[in-house]
Symmetry: C2
Subunit: 268 residues, 2 copies
């Protein structure tokens, strides 16, 4: 596998925000920081504890803490008590203020965020928050759930994609959802630009009783994909490709706008 576009970005040293949802001590973010450092100045703001499944949650009812940490050589880094989206808001509005941010990268997530998982994922919601703030952003996920996962297959691809965005920008309101199959780098066939598969979770709550005799439910589930099209992220991943889904935060269903004009007859 030969990564092209390997000239350095033709611009002043860019500023890159790195965040995630697995927490600042996770392996995945360390990998992403190491790549980002090769491309620009890096600031890290990440949750102080795992925040998987936090989606686009923000902290309204509680104060947030933000502490400087000395975890990554030569990199300004902060841990935050809030959600991934809180981290991006604090980075942009408290730490960076008027400094221009050229790219936000989130991850590398320990586990898939393909298909509808973009909605549940704190990793992708952080990237989406950056896109709301007008910052080009990429969420990276690796299809290996182990805290001890070896991310070395991800680095070349992550660097190439980040470089591409630093060189070409990204149109406003967009973000990329990038998932990387759990394969050695030389077995990865390349990058497929594709759509979000129409998959879903079939929930199977575990029902049990706590030590005080009270019933509880614990969320578990089975990921089901009946969308077999070859232009989907799930197909790409199952066939040895990295999936790249260009995504956006405008959720309007434009096709339905015209269909529903008749609803305006409700009014008179």
């Amino acid at each position: 596998m030969d990564i092209k576009l390997n000239q350095e970005p033709d611009m002043k040293k860019p500023l890159i925000l790195v965040t995630n949802d697995d927490g600042i001590a996770a392996r995945g973010i360390k990998t992403l920081i190491d790549v980002a450092k090769q491309l620009g100045d890096v600031i890290v703001v990440a949750p102080d504890s795992p925040q998987s499944g936090q989606g686009h949650a923000i902290t309204l009812e509680q104060p947030l803490r933000l502490y400087k940490v000395d975890l990554f050589e030569g990199v300004e880094a902060y841990e935050c008590s809030g959600t991934p989206v809180d981290c991006v808001k604090l980075a942009k509005n408290v730490l960076l203020k008027d400094r221009e941010l050229n790219l936000c990268v989130s991850g590398i997530n320990h586990g898939s965020n393909a298909a509808i998982n973009i909605l549940y994922s704190g990793t992708l919601s952080a990237a989406m928050e950056a896109s709301l703030e007008g910052v080009p952003s990429i969420g990276f996920s690796f299809l290996n759930y182990s805290p001890r996962a070896d991310f070395s297959a991800c680095t070349g691809f992550a660097k190439a994609l980040m470089k591409y965005v630093l060189q070409h920008g990204m149109s406003k309101g967009n973000l990329w959802n990038v998932n990387i199959p759990d394969l050695p780098a030389d077995e990865i066939k390349g990058i497929k630009v594709c759509r979000q598969a129409d998959a879903r979770w079939v929930e199977e709550f575990v029902e049990a009783t706590d030590p005080r005799g009270q019933k509880y439910y614990w969320l578990t589930g089975r990921f089901v994909n009946e969308d077999q099209a070859e232009n989907t992220d799930i197909w790409a991943l199952e066939n040895g490709y990295i999936s790249l889904v260009p995504s956006k935060h405008d959720l309007t269903n434009y096709e339905a706008l015209d269909e529903l004009q008749s609803l305006e007859i409700l009014t008179s």
Copy 2:
């Protein structure tokens, strides 16, 4: 204002799930339950405490509690310790199992969920979760933030829209984001089917020191809308209309798919 489509739904008694993010004791959900009861059998599963800003968060690291409550006459109702999305998952997978759900309504939220607030809103995320499960769903919000808000202006419109969906269905993967201006019913000009305005929050964190001398940050913000187009939800609301944004959970940016095919040259 004259609401048409006032014949009763031509079907067996439909089953309607009601949820929200302000918590089961909020006034807004009581209003929605009263309307839903006029249209079908109702089941309520709502958070036991306010969950504003929870977005699409789900509870992975903790057990969930689900307790039957006797709050709404003639209606089976449960309070849940989790997020709005957890409530929908529990309703669909634990309580209803194979029973067909014909509609999910969420709200009525105390405050706006127009424009990008669909992403932060637990109310809308609950509706989106139902849409992921194949259930037609509507999130309702009223532009009055008071816990003592008078929702009487909302009821006729909410009923008309729910009836419309029960009669006509909703195409798969869709949900409606409905916001209602804070006006007396007879001053509301009607319903506008529109797109999500490209607005944003300008964050202004309050920075202060806690009793132990530690610095904290508290999220606040100013909603800024530079998108003045007349086909947006913000325009509709500012001009006395109810906004209805047909929305979807497929976040793929289809316009960007073609543009980005060149990225596949990264691979060889």
